[in-house]
């Protein structure tokens, strides 16, 4: 769950990390009114859930209210890495002497938190990390460990903060780390931490990603108006529909509708289709132990997508039981009907029950099953993949 800059700065303030006074605007007119009152040069910052904003033209400096409105017009039309601009943050323009970088993230491979700092902030920190690793300082920490002032002082000195500001810099580092642990973050960054011409330290940007799975522990976020949200770009209408239904789904460019069980084979199955010369039309994940209703909705998404020429189905019942799966497919067939060929394989937990349900349903309504080729454990999944590719090429299409 990624936060907007203005939300991140709300958290910064809570942890006494210095930030500029700022206002949020949702329209060019609002921008005009705010800047008119400020009577000083301002910076307008597009609020998007993505990095690389500066390079994409998402930051503008305006001397007065009219100029600000003109820029705001532009900014609200911008799409940055597929993300629309929802709001503009307005701050006084800073007279910047130096820019630093401070961040905290998780080194998952080594099970550590890592405090990262650099004297070269404001640019792409990943690039600095790659080209000048000596300019990046890292302090790995155990999840149960505090950062002490002495740790933070050393970092503040290493990145070259002026001597008179190292205590303040250390306090910012400690606060950022404490905030990371307090809010179950995956990433927090101040980039840049700015040293102004008049000798003040300010967090000029805020990047905060929290762990969706731990948001339940932090009801105060909701009180602050920060709501649960995923990190994603602009969605297609079908992706939006899937999200509303709680189904992880991505549109792709191919013509084979992927209807897999589990995320693991969801990914691998797409590779198989490619391997045999086909093109998947989507990525989809049923989630663990999907209900029959959910299974039916997954099929609705694919059946309604015009580009889909054939549906590839795979169910290996684990926590997802074959009987629930069969129930969902039958529900779909009865309520909605299948307009395209479906080749599928079903095995795993409760497969006998699943097969029996299909047989009973087919006996009652054989017409519902005329587009379906059904396989069990005896057929390798590769055969199903090949068959889906074959059917897709028979159907023609893109």
């Amino acid at each position: 769950m990624r936060l907007y800059e203005y939300e991140g700065k709300q958290l910064f303030e809570k942890f006494k990390i210095p930030v500029s006074a700022r206002r949020l605007a949702k329209s060019p007119d609002e921008v005009f009114k705010i800047v008119e009152k400020m009577k000083e040069p301002v910076v307008l910052k597009a609020q998007v859930l993505s990095g690389g904003r500066g390079k994409a033209g998402g930051i503008k400096i305006a001397e007065g209210a009219n100029e600000a409105r003109t820029y705001a017009d532009e900014l609200f039309k911008l799409t940055i890495k597929g993300y629309p601009v929802d709001a503009i943050l307005i701050e006084p323009k800073l007279d910047i002497k130096q820019e630093y970088y401070i961040g905290v993230t998780i080194d998952r491979a080594n099970y550590k938190l890592v405090l990262i700092a650099s004297g070269e902030g404001g640019v792409d920190i990943e690039e600095t990390a790659e080209k000048h690793p000596d300019k990046i300082f890292k302090l790995p920490l155990d999840i149960s460990e505090d950062v002490y002032t002495f740790d933070a002082l050393l970092i503040a000195k290493k990145i070259g903060l002026p001597q008179e500001l190292i205590k303040e810099g250390a306090a910012i580092i400690i606060s950022l780390y404490n905030m990371f642990r307090k809010y179950d973050a995956k990433l927090v960054e101040i980039n840049p931490l700015v040293l102004t011409a008049d000798g003040k330290l300010l967090a000029a940007d805020a990047r905060v990603s929290l762990d969706d799975d731990a948001v339940f522990r932090h009801p105060e976020l909701q009180e602050m108006g920060i709501e649960s949200r995923h990190e994603e770009g602009e969605m297609t209408p079908r992706e939006k529909q899937a999200q509303d239904w709680g189904i992880p789904y991505l549109d792709l460019d191919g013509n084979i509708g992927m209807f897999p069980g589990g995320a693991g084979f969801g990914i691998m199955g797409n590779d198989f289709i490619h391997h045999y010369g086909g093109q998947p039309a989507n990525f989809m994940d049923s989630g663990g132990g999907p209900s029959p209703e959910r299974i039916a909705k997954m099929l609705v998404l694919l059946d309604q997508k015009p580009e889909v020429k054939v549906i590839f189905g795979a169910r290996f019942g684990g926590i997802s039981r074959c009987d629930d799966f069969a129930k969902g497919v039958i529900m779909f067939l009865k309520d909605h009907g299948l307009s395209k060929p479906l080749v599928m394989r079903m095995t795993g937990n409760m497969w006998q029950e699943g097969v029996r349900m299909f047989e009973e349903a087919k006996e009652a309504n054989p017409e519902l099953f005329e587009h379906i080729e059904f396989h069990g454990i005896e057929t390798p999944i590769e055969e199903i993949s090949k068959r889906a590719v074959e059917l897709a090429s028979l159907e023609g299409g893109n």
């Binding site: 998780i106 998952r108 491979a109 099970y111 550590k112 938190l113 990943e126 155990d142 999840i143 149960s144 642990r181 179950d184 995956k186 762990d211 969706d212 799975d213 731990a214 339940f216 522990r217 995923h230 990190e231 994603e232 992880p248 991505l250 792709l252 897999p260 069980g261 589990g262 995320a263 693991g264 084979f265 969801g266 990914i267 691998m268 797409n270 590779d271 198989f272 490619h274 391997h275 998947p280 990525f283 989809m284 994940d285 989630g287 663990g288 795979a314 290996f316 019942g317 684990g318 926590i319 095995t347 795993g348 937990n349 497969w351 454990i377 390798p380 999944i381 590769e382 993949s385």
Partner: protein, 288 residues
């Protein structure tokens, strides 16, 4: 012989009185898994499938000798449950639930390392030693005792690989689901080394995934292993950087594209496979 769990393992179920706990306790017992009891705080004294339920792991261990635990609890209770089991002396834990807070898993890993326990999961289908014990939610239809070990991040991949090994007559020693969550209790290298020490395991199939961070660690141990390692990585054709269901399936910077992972593993001496059918062919070539 097998790794992690076999018929002599005394298995307990944490969260035994919940819906999933009850259902899978019954399934695991049906398979022949030696389940000796379980826990559910406040429900001590009850029974599930004729097995005693205790309030705490300490009581369960004292009364049943449990040395392995399968956790079936809502994600928010997993950290304490895992630490409880580890501190009570349980040496192998399977965390089935998904969506466990990442910081919680860091704490669990820390306790596990400190106490010499092995944790797999969260979001794992579990561990299966065919013919001996089924720990978790794996469908037994796919599995038969044999001579190849498997370790995968995804449950469904585990099933397909076992299905393939079973159909082609190799069978499996133990099948390990590493888990799909972004931070996991164990890493590929750790499980590979356990297979290396198991004389019955003649080869290992490891299946990684785009976005994971533990595939790279496997490269540290494969060069020194005598047991051949076959490697598959899911997501070769996945669009990079887009979210794909698993939180773990986000490409992290330059590291972790599926193609790079597979190349890295091949460089380390693993035998890359593209489909499941490549597995028996490779095993044949290796003379396993």
């Amino acid at each position: 012989m097998a790794i992690l769990v076999d018929k002599s393992s005394k298995v307990m179920v944490q969260g035994m009185t919940g819906g999933a706990g009850k259902f899978h306790t019954a399934r695991m017992l049906t398979y022949g898994t030696n389940i000796v009891g379980g826990t559910s705080p406040g429900k001590g004294g009850q029974e599930v499938e004729g097995k005693p339920v205790f309030d705490t792991v300490v009581e369960c261990v004292e009364n049943t000798g449990a040395d392995v635990s399968a956790i079936f609890l809502p994600a928010r209770f997993v950290m304490e449950a895992a630490i409880e089991a580890i501190r009570a002396g349980v040496k192998f834990l399977v965390i089935v639930p998904e969506h466990i807070p990442i910081h919680d898993m860091l704490h669990v890993r820390r306790e596990a390392v400190a106490h010499g326990a092995t944790v797999i999961g969260g979001n794992t289908a579990g561990v299966m030693t065919p013919g001996e014990a089924n720990l978790g939610i794996m469908p037994d239809i796919a599995f038969k005792p044999g001579r190849v070990g498997t370790v995968s991040r995804s449950g469904s991949i585990t099933y397909y690989v076992a299905d393939t090994l079973t159909r082609t007559g190799y069978g499996e020693t133990t099948c390990v689901g590493l888990g799909g969550d972004p931070v996991l209790g164990s890493t590929f290298d750790e499980i590979l080394l356990k297979f290396e020490d198991d004389p019955k395991t003649k080869a290992v199939v490891m299946c990684g995934e785009i976005g994971g961070v533990y595939e790279e660690r496997a490269c540290n141990v494969i060069p020194d292993m005598k047991t051949p390692v076959l490697a598959m990585i899911g997501g070769i054709y996945a669009p990079p950087g887009k979210r794909m269901g698993h939180a773990g399936a986000i490409v992290e910077g330059k590291m972790g594209t599926a193609k790079e992972k597979l190349e890295m593993l091949a460089d380390a001496g693993a035998h890359p496979c593209k489909t499941f059918l490549d597995i028996p062919e490779t095993l044949k070539k290796l003379g396993v």
